[in-house]
């Protein structure tokens, strides 16, 4: 039943985030005419969706919520005064960390899938089509890249004391990571730029003219991201195993 506790801890962010994402996607679809008519350069509906959802507000909301979802765990519980009750349950610390990580990541996946549900369903109401395969492709990219942001914050939340310290530390850390992407040697390794992998920009699997995912998805980098995120979670579990409460 630790899954239930973890679900209750992440429920508000997950459901609220899914709702916010769905509304944002819905609004983007609904106002597509007005937005495209006022655009400096004419663009296709698919390009408009990519620029608005996958390269702008949708991606930003998603990455921010990944960080928020990662900011939980036993140290946060300690700050809230509930760690004593949790640790008195007949469950190992590893199980507690594992279920919190799983349910938090389930929230990340739900957020990643939201545009894939909303965009293909809402587009016909504006006499447009957004391919399900495209939306699902971006969801996979989001789920992989979001795992790194989520896992990194999750690890910070199991290292830094305080209720929201991990979130406050994660945001500038990730901004710093963004700044690092401008370094010349980093530009030679485009797959290390998660901000580009997540929306396909400058990537071989993305056609910049059509704004469509055309090549095979970067399965190896996505797998590596999941491994890295699992490593963060594993490190968080190790840290909790030795910790005094």
């Amino acid at each position: 039943m630790l899954w239930y506790k973890a679900w209750r801890e992440t429920r508000i962010v997950t459901l609220g985030g899914v709702a916010a994402m769905a509304i944002a996607c819905g609004m983007i679809v609904w106002f597509e005419h007005a937005m495209r008519d006022n655009a400096e350069v004419p663009m296709s509906y698919v390009a408009y969706i990519w620029k608005s959802v996958y390269n702008s507000i949708g991606r930003d909301i998603f990455l921010f919520l990944c960080v928020i979802l990662g900011g939980g765990g036993l140290l946060q519980e300690r700050a809230q005064g509930t760690a004593g009750f949790t640790l008195s349950l007949p469950a190992s610390r590893g199980q507690i960390v594992f279920w919190r990580a799983v349910m938090g990541y389930a929230g990340v996946v739900a957020l990643a899938l939201t545009p894939a549900v909303v965009l293909p369903l809402a587009s016909p109401y504006r006499n447009e089509i957004y391919p399900v395969s495209q939306a699902l492709g971006f969801s996979l990219l989001w789920a992989g890249c979001g795992a790194v942001f989520y896992g990194f914050t999750f690890l910070l939340a199991h290292v830094l004391e305080g209720e929201y310290t991990a979130i406050l530390a994660a945001i500038p850390s990730l901004m710093f990571y963004g700044v690092l992407q401008g370094l010349p040697w980093m530009e030679r390794l485009p797959m290390l730029n998660i901000f580009h992998v997540v929306n396909g920009e400058d990537m071989p699997y993305f056609n910049e003219g059509l704004h469509l995912l055309t090549g095979p998805l970067p399965w190896l980098p996505l797998g590596a991201m999941l491994v890295l995120a699992s490593g963060f979670v594993f490190a968080a579990g190790r840290r909790m195993r030795l910790r005094d409460f």
Binding site: M1, Y4, K5, R8, E9, Q80, G81, T82, A83, G84, F85, L87, S88, L89, P90, A91, S92, R93, R241, L242, D244, F245
Partner: protein, 311 residues
């Protein structure tokens, strides 16, 4: 059946320079109620947390119900068999009372639905209310319900009556008294010495992380006495006899806390020329104060000196 449900051997916990628990040797007898006493910072909560596996001992060992406290796997077995109510009574504020009961129940095979119903009615806990909306007293009652609605081998309570109204305290004390009859050992810490004296069979008192008294309450009542001498002249040098725990001299009055041998101590008073010799029973509260007060004063002085040295 185990005769000793809790046993510690030189159990020690240091937080840097601070020695919270200092080579503690103690044992708790099965199917009895043990009152765990000590002033603030004496090491009670640290001891309890080590027993539950929440903190790791710096050195020494301990066992609960025969399971080693420093083995993570055995620690889970311990928590499966015991019930615990912590000092802060921190429960998940985002769950309702009903959800928290349902969640907690899922971990224990020995959950007693009839006891749960009885306690819900007794404590008048609203099932649909969020835990964060409960008063401190109601939260304490909920924490007690979660612990008492089972048939644990051992019940560990850290300041269980804190925040409760007098009627609830009375009901809780009655529940604790009944627990050993159902095979449950009770180990509880409290600063309410009158409550401890009412229900405890055994007393374990610690100070600065060391056991200073570990004895059945009955034996304490039988043996502990306050022996007072009054002199018509300045107090002479008193010989140190067996059982003289504390000697306090104020003017021409001598007050001795005797843990045993009070008759011989009284006889010594007559021998050294005391005009009056009085032997009186002593309450647990007086024993506690006598035992920890001097150390408390020394600690306060040391702290004062340390603070002023820093200034």
């Amino acid at each position: 059946m185990l005769e000793r449900v809790i046993q510690t051997d030189a159990l020690t916990k240091h937080y840097g320079e601070f020695h919270a628990v200092n080579a503690l040797n103690c044992s708790v007898r099965a199917e009895r109620i043990t009152g765990f006493l000590g002033r603030n910072g004496a090491g009670k909560s640290s001891t309890i947390k080590m027993l539950l596996g929440m903190i790791r001992p710096t050195s020494g060992t301990g066992s609960v119900l025969g399971y080693k406290i420093d083995d993570p796997k055995q620690s889970i077995e311990i928590r499966q068999r015991i019930a615990y109510v912590g000092e802060d009574k921190g429960l998940y504020g985002y769950m309702t009372v009903g959800q928290l009961i349902w969640f907690t129940r899922s971990f224990y095979a020995d959950w007693q639905p009839d006891v749960e119903k009885r306690l819900l009615a007794e404590y008048r806990l609203p099932l649909g209310r969020k835990v964060k909306a409960l008063s401190k007293g109601m939260r304490t009652k909920l924490a007690l319900l979660l612990a008492l609605a089972r048939r644990p081998a051992l019940l560990i309570l850290d300041e269980p009556t804190e925040g409760l109204d007098p009627v609830s305290i009375e009901e809780l004390l009655q529940t604790l008294v009944m627990a050993p009859m159902q095979g449950t050992t009770v180990f509880f810490s409290s600063h309410q010495l009158s409550e401890v004296e009412r229900v405890a069979d055994d007393i374990l008192m610690i100070d600065r992380g060391v056991a200073v008294l570990d004895m059945p309450l009955e034996q304490i009542r039988e043996n502990y006495r306050r022996v007072t001498f009054g002199f018509g002249h300045p107090v002479p040098t008193l010989p140190q006899l067996d059982g003289m725990e504390r000697v306090r001299i104020e003017g021409r009055q001598v007050s001795i806390l005797a843990s045993r041998n009070s008759e011989a101590i009284a006889g010594m008073g007559h021998e050294v020329g005391a005009a009056t010799v009085d032997v009186a029973p002593i309450s647990l509260r007086e024993i506690f104060l006598e035992t920890v007060q001097e150390q408390n004063k020394r600690d306060q002085e040391a702290h004062w000196e340390q603070t002023h040295a820093l200034v």
